[in-house]
Symmetry: C2
Subunit: 196 residues, 2 copies
C-alpha cells in the first residue's frame, strides 16, 4: 500500500496525533467554553463519562456507548479521577471534531456506518498506513454481529485506542522506523496503561 | 530482585500460564460440570458475564465487578459472542481457583484486600518477577481511591490482563530473553486484542 500523506511521516506507517502539540497557556476558545458549560451539567468544573454521554449523539440521535465515553475521558484523565477539566476538554474536543469530520467524509449516505473500505480510507486520511488484514481485524473486532460495518462511536473507540497505543509506541520508536524493541515489564506497563 | 520459582522460567521474568496446556478431548470433571450448571442460569449451555457475576462473590459477600467478569469471559471467548461454553469454562475455572488461592494466601486477615507488599509476593508466587516500581504502578492503577490496596476482583482483573499480555509477549519472545522486537501494526494488534 502506498503512503498517501496526512499527518504522518512516511517511513514509520503511523501518524502524528492531530492537535497533540498545542501551544501552552493559551486561553480556551469561547466555542469550547460554551460546549464545556453545556456538557458539565452539575457545574462541577469537571466532566465525567456520563456527562459526556448525555452530550454526544450519533447521526441517528442515539447516545454514544459507555465504552466510547469512558475511553475519551480516559485519554486525558491523568489523575484517574474519572473526570477532565476544561483544558483537557479542549484537547478532547479537538480530537473528537477531527475524528467526526473524517467519519462524515466517508459516511456519505449519513447512515451512521462506514464499511471496511471506507475505514481504510479514513485511517489513510489520518496518516496511518494499515494493511488490509489489519483493517479487516479492526472491523471484526468492532462489529461483532455482522462484522462488516463500523458505527461512529465504534470508530471513535478505535481512534482513541489507536491514538494512545501509537503515542506509547512512538515514544519508544527512537529510530522512527516503525519497529521497537521492548522489555516485558515495559510492554505490560504500556498495555495496561492504555487499556483502561 | 531474585527469582523465587513458580511456574515461570527464570531468564525471562514472566510466568508460564497455569493450566494453559491441558490435554485435549478429556471429559470435563464432575465438579466443573456442577459449577457450570449452577452458573448457567438460563440453561443455554453458554455462560455470559452477567451469569458469571451472579455466581462470584468476594469475602464480604459482594459480587465481583462487571469489568472483572467481562474480562474473564473475554479470556476464552474466541468468537466474540460474549459467552463461553463448558470446555472454556473448565479452563477459566482452573485459572480463577488458582488466582483465588494465591489471593487468600496473602489476605491473611480475610479482609478481602491485599497491600502492595503482599501483591508483590503473590506475583512472585505465580512465577513473575516484577520490580517494586511496577507493583506500585499496578496498585495505583487498581485502587484509584487510596492507592494502597487491592481487592480480590481487582486482583483478578490484573491477573487476566497480565495473563493475556504475557501470552502475546511470550509468543514473540522467541529467544526467551524477556525482550521482543515488534512492528507497529503487530503491536497495535496485540494491544487491541488483549484490551477488551
Amino acid at each position: 500500500m502506498a503512503y498517501q500523506g496526512g499527518y504522518g511521516h512516511p517511513g514509520s506507517g503511523y501518524a502524528a496525533p492531530p492537535g497533540a502539540y498545542p501551544p501552552q497557556n493559551v486561553s480556551v476558545p469561547p466555542e469550547v467554553q460554551r460546549w464545556f458549560a453545556m456538557v458539565d451539567r452539575d457545574q462541577s468544573g469537571k466532566i465525567n463519562a456520563d456527562e459526556l454521554k448525555l452530550a454526544l449523539v450519533n447521526g441517528k440521535g442515539e447516545h454514544f456507548s459507555d465504552t466510547s465515553c469512558k475511553l475519551m475521558i480516559g485519554m486525558f484523565d491523568k489523575d484517574a479521577s474519572g473526570t477532565i477539566d476544561i483544558f483537557e476538554f479542549e484537547k478532547l474536543y479537538t480530537y473528537i471534531n477531527q475524528w467526526l469530520a473524517v467519519f462524515k467524509t466517508y459516511d456519505r449516505d449519513g447512515s451512521n456506518y462506514i464499511d471496511e473500505n471506507e475505514l481504510s480510507q479514513a485511517f489513510t486520511q489520518m496518516g496511518f498506513r494499515f494493511s488490509n488484514e489489519f483493517i479487516n481485524f479492526l472491523v471484526k473486532k468492532s462489529d461483532t454481529v455482522s462484522q462488516k460495518q463500523i458505527s461512529v462511536d465504534q470508530f471513535i473507540v478505535l481512534c482513541v485506542q489507536i491514538q494512545r497505543f501509537t503515542e506509547a509506541f512512538r515514544m519508544r520508536d527512537t529510530q522512527q522506523n516503525g519497529t521497537i524493541t521492548i522489555a516485558f515489564e515495559d510492554f505490560l506497563s504500556v498495555a495496561l496503561t492504555c487499556s483502561n
